[in-house]
């Protein structure tokens, strides 16, 4: 089920919330948790019920392994067994096809039939969440006090609770379980419900009104990557950079808002990443829960920065490679990870030179690097990505939209024609004209650079916020009505 669908907003959410409150009030905490687990499985099964047993089996298995580790009989072996099974599951569903087709390409023949395996929704997220749980149990961090904090029901809620199940934020067992067991979290808190609804509306607006409006143009431009002019190639790159951010951060804010409605504090996932002054800074602001996960469970165990500069660089590079691979079974994703790995290494070495550049230069270089990397992330293949990059530097093929005032001014002067600039009529894509698309890019660019993350906003019970939220909510509902619900980009990962 999509957060940006009518059935979710007007049926599922109210029903889930009011029954949860009712059960908590009349039958106590276990009944309320059971309800949340049940509706979360329903939420997952809405996409494809055949994968519900897989999710349930994964939960049972990890909980059982956690118990074995806690008992202390060969915990290291249990941990390795648990992680191996988790990774095998992820490997089968996400990477088997990629691996076999790569072998076929290397062998130059169809050695293996490449199976068509449907990737279960959210598998990357629930596998990472549960692997972290096993590691925490092994290190003793997840052995929370009291039996109820280690209960199966609470564990089920931790893995499945619907706001984060499909696309994060990746949550930490140690921080969530105490929230699930706190009695105060099972009463109606008007502030939390209000803030939750406000964040949900803001996220909905970012996804439905902004990201989905950029989507047709971005899709069209990347589809004809081979034929883009200089101007269009830049629009494609910037457009996707913005689309991905508004899509994913919108989703995260909706998830955090939904959590708040149920009195749960989910971790922040984005903190104005396009205001970053360096790549290191960018990764502290973009998909923060994934970054933290990789840092805690991969970077630090590999030695982190404690074994000298060379090994620190190696560890950073490998972490980014893994992040690239986590995003998708494809060479373009791996290359995207490699690029970020290289950029991080360069960034760290540059810092050692202690050369201070103006903020605007730092920001510009960072944004440009991130944007170029996104081209590989979005493109269907290397050929398309390189074609876009080539067009972005091809100053001999500048085509500007015809028919506007800009054309009239420059044509009359004859300046641009002498420079080889062409004017061609440009089409609308799904009703969005080029002018509107460009206008959106400019406004969004300004907002992204100037505005703080909505989670940092000082939300208060005022008329101003009421108006803003209502406008955002209803414009989103209207956009949904006109264009229908679209999937979140991060669902594919």
């Amino acid at each position: 089920m999509l957060f940006n669908s009518y059935e979710f907003i007007f049926l599922y959410l109210p029903l889930a919330f009011f029954v949860f409150l009712g059960l908590a009030n009349y039958f106590g905490r276990p009944a309320a948790i059971s309800w949340l687990v049940l509706v979360s499985f329903f939420f997952y099964g809405w996409w494809d019920w055949r994968y519900v047993p897989l999710l349930f089996a994964s939960i049972c298995f990890n909980y059982w392994i956690g118990g074995q580790i806690r008992q202390g009989f060969g915990p290291k072996y249990w941990l390795m067994f648990g992680i191996s099974v988790n990774l095998s599951l992820l490997g089968y569903f996400k990477y088997a096809g990629f691996f076999l087709s790569t072998v076929n390409v290397l062998a130059g023949s169809a050695m293996f039939d490449v199976p068509h395996i449907i990737l279960p929704l959210g598998i990357s997220f629930f596998t990472f969440t549960q692997t972290a749980y096993l590691l925490n149990v092994y290190e003793g961090g997840a052995n929370l006090c009291g039996e109820e904090q280690n209960g199966f029901l609470e564990y089920c809620e931790f893995v499945t609770i619907f706001p984060h199940l499909i696309a994060g934020p990746i949550i930490d067992h140690r921080k969530m379980i105490p929230q699930f067991t706190a009695i105060s979290n099972y009463v109606l808190d008007f502030k939390n419900v209000s803030v939750g609804l406000m964040l949900f509306s803001i996220g909905l607006f970012k996804k439905v009104v902004i990201a989905d409006s950029l989507s047709p143009w971005v899709g069209d431009l990347f589809y004809r990557a081979d034929t883009l002019s200089f101007f269009e190639a830049w629009l494609a790159a910037i457009g996707y950079t913005f689309q991905l951010y508004f899509d994913f951060s919108g989703y995260s804010e909706m998830a955090i808002g939904l959590g708040r409605i149920f009195n749960l504090e989910f971790p922040m996932n984005f903190n104005s990443p396009y205001q970053a002054q360096s790549i290191v800074d960018f990764w502290r602001r973009w998909h923060m829960t994934l970054g933290l996960w990789v840092k805690e469970y991969l970077y630090i165990p590999m030695g982190g920065n404690r074994q000298g500069e060379w090994l620190k660089m190696r560890n950073l590079f490998l972490c980014m490679l893994l992040i690239g691979f986590w995003h998708g079974a494809g060479w373009t994703f791996i290359f995207w990870g490699i690029l970020h790995g290289i950029l991080l290494v360069i960034n760290h070495q540059w810092r050692r030179l202690h050369i201070a550049l103006p903020d605007i230069v730092n920001w510009g270089i960072t944004f440009l690097c991130v944007m170029v990397c996104w081209i590989f992330f979005r493109a269907e293949n290397f050929h398309d990505a390189l074609a876009i990059l080539k067009a972005m530097v091809d100053v001999n093929h500048i085509v500007l939209p015809a028919g506007g005032r800009i054309e009239n001014i420059f044509v009359s002067c004859g300046v641009l024609q002498n420079l080889g600039v062409e004017f061609l009529p440009m089409k609308s894509v799904q009703g969005v004209s080029l002018t509107k698309f460009m206008g959106m890019i400019c406004v969004l660019g300004f907002l992204l650079v100037k505005m703080k993350n909505p989670l940092m906003w000082n939300l208060e019970p005022s008329f101003k916020w009421m108006t803003i939220v209502v406008i955002m909510f209803y414009s989103s509902i209207w956009f949904m009505f006109r264009s229908g619900a679209s999937e979140f980009l991060y669902f594919q990962f």
Partner: protein, 381 residues
Amino acid sequence: MCNWDRFCKILTGILFVPCFLVALVFEGALYRINEQKVGTTQAIEMQVRGKALHGSALSGDVSFLKYGVIERLQPEIVAIGSSRVMQFRQSFFQDTTFYTMGGLCNSIEDLSYVYRTATKQYVPRIIILEVSWDWLNPNYSHTLMEKPLLEKNAVSRRVYLYKRLFDSVRGNKKVREQLLDPDIRLTDEIGNRMTIGLMASADYRGFREDGSFQYGAAILHLNPLEERLRDTHERIQNANNRFEEAYGIDHNELSKLKCLIRSMKERGVHVMVFLPPFPDEIYQALMSSEKHNVYIKTYEQEVNNLCNQEKVSFFDFSNMAWVGSSDEEALDGFHGSERTYGRIMLRFVEDKELAPYVNAEYIRERLEKSDSPIQLLWYEE
């Protein structure tokens, strides 16, 4: 403004209550124009159990209805194709069950989709497969037919109808008038069926329980032949809208057809392929047009060759005169009428598998007795 308690109550009220009220208004409007059952299992049930004419003015998508009905009926004989198989009737057959999946295909790929989806639960004994003239045209855009109602859940189907209603009220005067008209006919006077949808109520146009289409307006008032054929003549002249200029067929599409026929045969289905009829005047226009005559000959020949190779029955009815149907029996330049398809059924007896099920005697009797140029069967029949 106030404290969080009050803010929360007001905000929740403002966000949710108006939306439910708007939904209520839409429901009332749908009820008013008799579209409330469109896209519901109730509509499927009505068609399966009794007589219902399903003609929505809001959505042309009948995939939800047709797949639902075929899943329940599991007929032995099925016709698959475009609007050019919507004229076959259950009464044309005897000692068997029949359903036409007509109106769900725009291309060979659509044929495959309909076949795969319709036969998920069971395998029919005989499939009558239409290969429309435009589907092998390399210059025709072979887009898949949209199925907005089929691919959505119950809530989304409802919202889709609201959206269509909203657009219709803005752009269609007839819908606006109907909304204000207190009298809505709930029975179709031609077929004596309950009506589902505004089109069925207002014009008696819609799908019957055997999947066939009742052309209500044409049955009650048939336009002069010249008027009926005009649009098709224009399309031939302009070489557009399914009549794109072509000098050969798209072999890629032909190989898709071959795969489809093979997969049907592999599952033990007896396949019959036919080319649907044009009025003689239109057929002659195509044959005498330089833009089309090479294509139509190639199309007829290649489909024939394919059927010979695959050893399936092939019937070329491209010209309705070949089955003894006059142009007066045409609904328009692209569609034969029920009478034409009755005559086509009489030719289908050449297929030994189908022959025992063709109600030839009855069709002949109706051809003789019916005084309508296009209609063979009336509600009492």
